[in-house]
Amino acid sequence: MKAPRFAYARPATLEGALALLAAHGEEARVLAGGQSLVAMLNLRVAAPRVLVDINRVPGLGEVALGESCVRIGALARHAELERSELVARHLPLLARAVRHIAHPAIRNRGTFGGSCALADPAAELPACALALGAKLVLRGARGERRVAAGEFFRGLYETALEAGELLVAAEFPLPGPASASAFGELARRHGDYALVGLAAYAQRDGPALRDVRLAFFGVADRPVLAARAAAVLEGRRVDEATLARAVAALDLEPRGDLHASAATRRRLAGVLLERVVKELAQ
């Protein structure tokens, strides 16, 4: 199980990286943390001609507080998010979710940007980006653009990134004082991709919730917002009856796979909704 031949480049600047990506187009892949990509290379399910290692591009790993957002650099490692006081204070959802990603040795290398750019539908961070309304910052030869998380994740391992473009950061809007978040996932083993997971966000309005965003993962080809269930919860006090209606309104259509049938996933999504939203309301 050895990787196929490829060429490797390690640009020292963002411009250098973009130039390489422009030069090699579809034949190039970006190497960030490598915790999925190198495994795919070893398994020969990925066989790019060129790897562009962005690990030494300066400035891509920063986690910074802006006026209206927290900006997380693409190269920020999961372990850094786990330790970051900034993240803990402003994005507690992310702080919580990141602990569910694999294991410490993986979190030391894996990156925020890599997780988003790979767009595994069972991954935690894309769902958090969706729940929190983050914008993904993409840089290409023709400049920078921002894409909302809801637009960025397009399908199974599919994103809005175009050939030659690099994901450089994500901007998370600063949550207000009444905002709340909660997170839950169901995995057979610690650190596994979840059978079903839920990253949830809302504004608390007395005993009621507003602006409810329920980002499920592991139930579709990308993280998805359960809009109908959220609409049931919107503006209401969270009680058993409301929860039951929200669960009934879940319109997810997960597919069955090795680890759980579609029916099990549907059921687990409902259970998670109840448990996570209860926490959200507390």
Binding site: M1, K2, A3, P4, R5, L43, R44, L186, R188, R189, H190, G191, D192, Y193, L195, L258, H259, A260, S261, A263, T264, R266, R267, L268, V271
Partner: protein
């Protein structure tokens, strides 16, 4: 002689939890596994494997692969078949069993996805893999026979046309009187249970480094394995070499569990390539091909019925076991032993007299299946224990009381099970009572009820089990397989005063070498640090079977004990000449030959010095002999059975179907315990292996026979986060078949855990009127049982 042996005294290492001397080397990363060995001019081999479950090879074009960088040889099945004779995995004592000749690489038809088809030898493994991608094979896909249930139906795809159908083996056991017993029973329970396919996932993959020396016509094979002499005999006979010119070396082995005890085509092909190329060839399976080619295990569908009277006495048991074993029976141990064991072992702890069992083994287009840790035991135990609990519930009896009523009394031995298994002396009741005390069973039951009121759903499961250990020649030898049941030990006193013990049993981490050193040091009266143990090299150790079926301590250990007694006798003879007394008045204590009850004498170092360098000081008519060899085989019984009982506390989440194992307990009776800690660790590791198969591990095939989970991200082995603490205690009933009295302990954990767990889950589910009958017990299974999906 046994008067010489004092296992209870302060000088005995037997019975003590001494640390393993070889553990430190491994803890420093200084082990030597096959992939760590590098030989001059060594090549690496990779395989093109069948992408189809069943397909005809129309053509193979290797020309592009041959021109790839670093490639030294591309060999097809036909090329390898010119070097390596085919093999047939049948045992003659399993009447009617059949399997066709198998070649290392598929010749005309590939019969499972993952069967090796073309071998590429190159300067590096990466280059060999590159070239594999350039081999072009034209396939004609054939219909695949996948479902064991339908393998014998008319019209089913027949995998081996010459057999006419897909039957590999069938056996029926019938004591008679079963139907009558069922007809008169107060309670009859029945269920169909299924057990998924899983596999061993040894952390070190299967590995073979073959080094053929053309000038000597000799082959040295560094093998990650557990039965060196078996490999020697097979490699020699299949490759046409003199057996004594084939040397098998098993150094450190990164787990085996039965996976590495079989003959695999890829390993045979690596040896053939070494002969063809006259240079060393290394094969190390990668994880992907391990899933596709390491034997799989279990995969049983068992229909079971149990009859009991009003008081709860079991009157009769009936089972029908069906198992699919892939397209070939594995060589040389066959793929029918597991089913045979299920028939032999099911219900074995209990005293009912009526038993009928049918076993059917069929071929299918999936990876071959064969013996894996605790062969047949988890199935036999889970089936019987499930039925015992079902009957207990039907009769409103406590599961512990149900077992008390039905387990064979501890004073009823020797006796025989309805299936014909002969038991020398077991201790089911002692084990069960110790287990319920260890678990504080009444308190657990009270706690369970209290928690249920709070919405916490816990279940308590019990499982009594028997375990086949110390196999006699009746296991394999009688069936024509060249697998030694006897084992030997050559022991010598070196010139330095050190004791060197060479043994045919092997070390895969269980602590074999430690156990042997403990016995040798105890028998000889020396410090353990003076004993060096040699294993795993056919050039250096006496002919033996290796380590499997929990035979190392019971059989290998007894050979060591006998060699030690013989060497001690010889040493005392020397001592008697030097000390001018008679040998009977001497003993060895703390490394010194002394007059009994005194400290007067001389050290073994001094004695050895005289023997080896100053023989002139000995009487002219006396020739010292400080090297002895002794062998041992089990003679009185086909196997020496052990027994034990396990308990499980599990919690289910009825909303999600998740099961959490909170605690496991095991009381095991493996006869004389040589090293309690090592036995406990065998039990613990075994239990977790059993829990893996019962909870998460499952080789899943799609409808075209494609294995869907070939990575460790998709095949879920148990990890630390989910596994419980496990309390282990011992009952010791030494076997009288040997002086040592030791029986095996390697299968007990794996054999009992799935049954204990399933009973615990069903105990919890009983509150909902539900039960599960299939393993692994996934959320799908639990939620379906609860009617929630």
């Amino acid at each position: 002689m046994s008067g010489e042996l004092d296992f209870e005294g302060p000088a005995s290492y037997v019975g003590r939890s001494v640390s393993r001397p070889n553990a430190r080397r491994l803890a420093e990363g200084r082990g030597q596994y096959v992939d760590d060995i590098v030989l001059p001019r060594m090549l690496h081999v990779a395989f093109v494997r069948s992408p189809h479950a069943h397909a005809r090879i129309l053509s193979i074009d290797t020309s592009r692969a041959e021109r790839m960088p670093g490639v030294r040889r591309v060999a097809t099945g036909a090329d390898i078949a010119r070097i390596c004779k085919p093999y047939v995995g049948v045992l003659t004592h399993l009447a009617g069993m059949r399997s066709p000749p198998q070649h290392p690489l598929a010749l005309e038809v590939a019969r499972w996805q993952g069967e090796p088809v073309v071998a590429v030898a190159a300067e590096s493994r990466a280059e060999a893999e590159d070239a594999c991608e350039a081999v072009e094979i034209a396939w004609q896909e054939l219909p695949a026979a996948l479902d064991a249930e339908r393998a014998l139906e008319p019209g089913a795809t027949v995998i081996h046309a010459e057999f006419g159908d897909n039957l590999c083996f069938r056996r029926v056991v019938d004591t008679g009187g079963v139907d009558e017993a069922f007809a008169g029973a107060a309670a009859v329970v029945e269920d169909t249970l299924s057990f998924g396919r899983h596999t061993g996932v040894t952390l070190e993959p299967r590995s073979m480094l073959a080094d053929y020396n053309a000038a000597e016509e000799s082959l040295t094979a560094y093998h990650s394995g557990q039965s060196p002499h078996m490999m020697q005999a097979i490699l020699a006979s299949r490759l046409g070499l003199d057996e004594h010119r084939v040397r098998i070396v098993c150094r450190d082995v990164g787990g085996s569990f039965g996976i590495k005890i079989h003959i695999y085509g890829d390993e045979m092909a690596a040896c053939a390539l070494s002969i063809m190329l006259r240079r060393p060839v290394k094969f190390v399976a990668d994880r992907h091909e391990s899933f596709l080619s390491d034997i799989h295990a279990r995969d049983h569908r068992v229909r079971a019925r149990l009859a009991a009277d009003r008081e709860g006495n079991v009157l009769a048991l009936e089972i029908d076991d069906l198992t699919g074993v892939g397209p070939y029976s594995m060589y040389p141990r066959s793929s029918a032993v597991e089913c045979n064991q299920v028939l032999g072992l099911t219900g074995g702890p209990y005293r009912h007299k009526r038993y009928r069992a049918t076993g059917t083994v069929v071929f299918q287009n999936k990876n071959p299946m064969s013996q894996y840790r605790a062969v047949g035991h988890p199935i036999a135990t889970a089936v019987a224990e499930h039925m015992i609990d079902r009957a207990a519930r039907a009769l409103a009896l406590d599961p512990a009381d149900m077992r008390r009523r039905n387990l064979i009394p501890d004073d009823a031995y020797p006796c025989q099970s309805p299936s014909g298994m002969r038991f020398e002396q077991l201790s089911h009741h002692a084990c069960l009572e110790k287990l319920v005390a260890l678990m504080d069973y009444p308190r657990l039951r009270a706690g369970q009820a209290a928690l249920r009121a709070q919405g916490v759903h816990r279940g308590i499961g019990l499982a009594s089990f028997i375990e086949v250990t110390n196999p006699s020649p009746m296991f394999y030898g009688v069936g024509g397989a060249r697998i030694a049941a006897q084992d030997g030990c050559t022991m010598r006193l070196d010139a330095s005063g050190a004791i060197i013990a060479a043994t045919g049993v092997t070390e895969q981490g269980q602590g074999t070498e430690t156990m042997i050193a403990q016995i040798a040091a105890t028998v000889l009266g020396v410090q353990m640090s003076c004993v060096k143990v040699l294993t795993g090299d056919t050039d250096k150790v006496p002919y033996g079977g290796g380590t499997w079926a929990s035979r190392a301590a019971g059989i290998g250990g007894e050979a060591v004990l006998q060699a030690g007694l013989a060497l001690k006798k010889n040493i005392l003879e020397v001592g008697a000449r030097i000390l001018k007394t008679d040998a009977g008045s001497l003993d060895i204590a703390d490394g010194r030959v002394v007059k009994r009850g005194t400290s007067e004498g001389l050290s073994l170092t001094e004695l050895a010095r005289i023997v080896y360098y100053r023989g002139n000081e000995l009487p002219a008519d006396f020739q010292p002999e400080l090297v002895v060899t002794r062998h041992y085989r089990v003679k009185d019984y086909p196997f020496v059975f052990t027994n034990g009982a396990q308990g499980c506390l599990a919690e289910i989440d009825p909303e999600t179907g998740f099961v959490r194992v909170l605690k496991m307990w095991c009381v095991d009776d493996c006869g004389r315990v040589i090293n309690p800690k090592l036995v406990e660790e065998q039990i613990r590791g075994g239990i977790v292996q059993g829990l893996g198969g019962a909870l998460t591990e499952h080789c899943r095939y799609d409808e075209r026979g494609q294995l869907l989970n070939c990575t460790m991200a998709d095949y879920l082995v148990p990890m630390a986060g989910e596994m419980p603490d496990i309390e282990v205690a011992h009952i010791q009933t030494p076997t009288r078949t040997s002086l040592l009295g030791a029986k095996g302990a390697g299968e007990a954990g794996t054999g009992g855990a799935p049954g204990a767990l399933m009973n615990a889950v069903n105990d919890a589910l009983a509150a909902f009127g539900a039960r599960v009958t299939s393993q692994p017990i996934t959320p799908d299974v639990v939620l379906a049982a609860l009617g929630k999906i």
